[in-house]
């Protein structure tokens, strides 16, 4: 973490909370949660957007949305978010499916609609200026509704934000078992700060 005040907490109450949760979880509280506790007035809108996109009403399952988040993280080379969101996705989808999707979503055992949507989100993440109506039509032709593509765009937009501040602030990388524990918390509580 490149900003020590974010890591340790900006107030006595904040530090107490970080210590308490770390003790209960029996692990170092992940930096994503420390960011959510820090300067809440500034970061709350991002948390609210992320929570709505990831846990709000949608035709995509929570597991599929977590997988989209992990894919955006992969395209942005964000190790923390790949670990965090593939761990949550694995609580809803089969781990081999997640690993195969991360390795090559074009050949992974996922629905054609999700595959087409990931193609759109990849271009949106890596070459946003090249997006065209034809890219959207390709997804719609795969049977994805306009509302579902909007939901997926909201997920990818949120994680094009989260992955960037995670890497810019240099989030510490938890161990696989810590990602598992944190995944339980994210599945249960979502992303509201």
């Amino acid at each position: 973490m490149r900003l020590p005040e974010v890591e340790r907490g900006s107030s006595f109450g904040n530090r107490l909370l970080i210590g308490f949760i770390s003790t209960v979880m029996r692990m170092r509280l992940p930096d994503a949660a420390r960011v959510a506790f820090y300067h809440k007035d500034f970061g709350r809108p991002i948390g609210a957007w992320t929570h709505a996109a990831m846990r709000g009403s949608s035709s995509w399952t929570i597991g599929e949305r977590e997988l989209m988040a992990a894919m955006v993280a992969k395209w942005n080379s964000c190790e923390f978010c790949v670990g965090a969101h593939s761990a949550v996705a694995a609580k809803q989808l089969a781990r081999p499916t997640i690993d195969q999707t991360l390795a090559d979503y074009r050949a992974a055992p996922i629905t054609n609609g999700l595959r087409a949507t990931l193609g759109f989100l990849e271009k949106m993440t890596l070459h946003p200026a090249d997006l065209s109506a034809e890219d959207a039509r390709t997804v719609l032709r795969a049977g994805v509704t306009s509302e579902a593509l909007t939901d997926a765009i909201a997920v990818a937009s949120a994680f094009n934000i989260v992955t960037r501040y995670a890497d810019a602030l240099d989030f510490a990388i938890p161990s696989p078992s810590e990602f598992e524990k944190a995944g339980d918390m994210l599945l249960k509580r979502g992303y509201r700060s």
């Binding site: 490149r2 900003l3 020590p4 005040e5 974010v6 900006s10 820090y38 300067h39 500034f42 970061g43 991002i46 942005n76 080379s77 964000c78 759109f120 949106m124 993440t125 946003p128 200026a129 997006l131 065209s132 109506a133 034809e134 890219d135 959207a136 039509r137 719609l140 306009s146 593509l149 909007t150 765009i153 909201a154 990818a156 937009s157 949120a158 994680f159 094009n160 934000i161 989260v162 992955t163 960037r164 501040y165 995670a166 890497d167 810019a168 602030l169 240099d170």
Partner: protein
């Protein structure tokens, strides 16, 4: 910061370098880039704001372009 991270024109140094970096390849951000902004602004809270604003700019650019592509696809089919 948000506009710079979305490919907009340069802003003032030293914020410009950090905002551009976060927009283009945040995983290549360096300790020095963040430390320089923190020192220039005199607080971690301000450096945190610059970081989140730049990240938000890159995300919002993608939201706008993706929704524009979808809207054009829907317009053409109606």
């Amino acid at each position: 910061m948000a506009a710079r991270a979305a490919g907009g024109p340069p802003t003032e140094p030293p914020y410009d370098e950090l905002a551009r970096q976060i927009g283009a390849a945040a995983h290549r951000t360096t300790d020095a880039q963040v430390a320089t902004v923190r020192t220039a602004l005199g607080s971690e809270k301000a450096a945190f704001e610059v970081t989140l604003a730049a990240a938000a700019g890159a995300g919002l650019l993608r939201w706008r372009l993706a929704m524009q592509a979808l809207a054009e696809a829907n317009d053409a089919s109606s």
